[in-house]
């Protein structure tokens, strides 16, 4: 049943996709239908783009190699923001969770910085770090950091008292407790938030590019908007979406490999 049900579901999903594409094509084509809403037959295509032209644009970008440097920049910014934000969040999270004084002192500040709409920092970062990659990475880091930080903080706080006491009875020093109990426990929370943090690293990179840059997919979209080239805007959005999905899939794969020790729902294997 599940296999067959899965296949039917896939067919329906593909069908829905085809239907949407078809509707988009029919409603925006200047020649197929008489204008329904706009007074000029070309206006629908102008405001919503045309699927065939969008596909053609994507194909052109990839076949001519035009998009690779931009894509590379965006992905590199994402990766850097993700790695730096995660490491910082991990270190600061562990430090604050294990030091009562530091966490009491910094608590209101962390809450304030987290509550602040941090996208607003993008222009400031552009001033500080220039229009190159550094400012985009910085923006992504501020987004990723807090997710990881709060998860690590929570993870350390939730370490089972018994597991901790047991490790101490087995002879763990403070350093070994950190390495063998606190960090693994915190890591499980970090992995739980991985989908969020990778997604936000990507958002940071693209938004940063969009607000001012000379390279990257966000920059391409901005350029296209500047010339009212809606097909290119949609093509850029589709490329970004596809890569966001790819990143998400990679995270799922990493998660499955690294969190084998966690019970999954529905898993009943016991002997």
């Amino acid at each position: 049943m599940p296999a067959k049900g899965n296949r039917t579901l896939r067919i329906w999903q593909l069908g829905l996709f085809a239907g949407l594409m078809l509707a988009w094509y029919v409603l925006t084509s200047p020649t197929l239908l008489p204008p329904l809403y706009f007074d000029d037959p070309n206006k629908a295509a102008f405001f919503f783009g045309e699927p065939l032209k969008v596909m053609w644009r994507i194909w052109d970008w990839f076949s001519s190699g035009f998009i690779y440097p931009h894509l590379w920049v965006t992905l590199l910014e994402t990766a850097l923001a993700f790695v730096i934000g995660t490491v910082l969040g991990l270190v600061v999270g562990l430090w604050l969770a294990l030091s009562a004084t530091a966490s009491a002192l910094l608590d209101p500040y962390l809450k304030a910085v987290n509550a602040m709409p941090r996208v607003i920092l993008a222009p400031i970062f552009a001033m500080w770090f220039g229009l190159d990659m550094a400012s985009k990475v910085a923006l992504g880091v501020t987004l990723v950091f807090f997710i990881v930080f709060f998860n690590v903080y929570q993870g350390v706080r939730e370490v089972s008292v018994t597991v901790l006491a047991n490790a101490r009875m087995l002879g763990a020093s403070n350093r070994q407790l950190l390495r063998h109990v606190y960090v693994p426990s915190a890591m499980s929370w970090v992995f739980a938030s991985l989908h969020n943090s990778v997604g936000l690293a990507f958002v940071g990179a693209v938004v940063g590019e969009y607000l001012g840059s000379s390279r990257g997919v966000g920059y391409l979209i901005l350029q296209a908007e500047g010339t009212f080239d809606f097909n290119a805007v949609v093509a850029g959005i589709l490329v970004l979406t596809a890569f966001a999905l790819l990143l998400d899939g990679a995270v799922s794969l990493a998660e499955r490999r690294l969190l084998v020790w966690q019970p999954r729902s529905g898993e009943t294997e016991k002997i």
Partner: protein, 264 residues
């Protein structure tokens, strides 16, 4: 010289709002090397508190604990502790959980693994080393915890109702296995339980605690049943029933007191 001695121990907890709660008072307990002592008492009588003092996890408010004549400060390095609740690291396999104590002592990883394999076999889990705790049943997790503590060859084994969560058959099996392991290499054992039958069938001596708060020992009984014992069968021996009656008479009032207090 006793392996473990608690002298006039008193433990008073102070909560942040200033409320004081004395869990145990005037408690003296001596355990000889190689002796198996059970501490029984109604629920909430501070048995676990007593064990935590012996382990060095808890500093007594008054009195002192000593290990082989040496006053205990900090953790009791000569003791292994079997906890009542889950204490295995869920991110380590059974084998890695058993080796962790050796790892903390910087032992050679390959030797540690070989030794752990041997211990897993001894507790009946040969071939299960690669499984994570969540893939094991409750009884198997307890066996891993047992191997984890015993691989370090502690002089004193502290056990806090380790089998309370198990079903009765698994429990009898585990108790027999424990006795077998213990008789092969006699260490001092302090075994906490609220189950009088379990206490009698395992121990050389049973100490009865009064109902809490301010719990203290109210009786001590030597168990002169022959060894080796089978915990399921020995319950039918006339001497067992006699001892049970004797100790229960001492315990009954305390159990009723504790029950009445809980109903308030």
């Amino acid at each position: 010289m006793p392996a473990l001695a608690l002298e006039d121990v008193r433990v008073t907890f102070v909560s942040p709002d200033g409320a004081r709660y004395t869990a145990i008072r005037d408690t003296t307990l001596r355990v000889e090397p190689g002796e198996f002592v059970s501490v029984v008492g109604p629920t909430g009588c501070g048995k676990s508190t007593l064990l935590n003092v012996a382990a060095g996890l808890l500093q007594p408010s008054a009195g002192a604990a000593s290990v082989f004549g040496e006053r205990l400060s900090g953790l009791n390095r000569k003791a292994g502790y079997l906890f009542q609740s889950e204490a295995l690291m869920p991110w380590r396999t059974a084998l890695q959980n058993v080796t962790v104590g050796l790892e903390f002592r910087d032992a050679d990883p390959r030797q540690a693994a070989a030794q752990a394999e041997e211990w897993l076999r001894r507790v009946g889990l040969g071939g299960f080393g690669g499984r994570y705790p969540h893939q094991l049943s409750g009884g198997m997790r307890k066996r891993v915890a047992l191997a984890q503590a015993l691989i370090l060859d502690p002089e004193i084994i502290l056990m806090d109702e380790p089998f309370a969560a198990l079903d009765i058959q698994t429990r009898h099996l585990m108790e027999n296995e424990l006795l077998e392991l213990w008789s092969a290499n006699r260490k001092s054992v302090v075994f906490i339980t609220h189950d009088l039958e379990e206490a009698i069938s395992l121990s050389d001596r049973v100490v009865v605690m009064s109902a809490g708060p301010e719990s203290h020992p109210i009786g001590e009984f030597a168990i002169d049943l022959p060894r080796p014992r089978d915990v399921a069968e020995i319950r039918l021996a006339p001497r067992f029933i006699e001892l049970h009656g004797l100790i229960w008479a001492a315990m009954k009032q305390e159990v009723l007191k504790s029950y009445a207090r809980q109903r308030q």
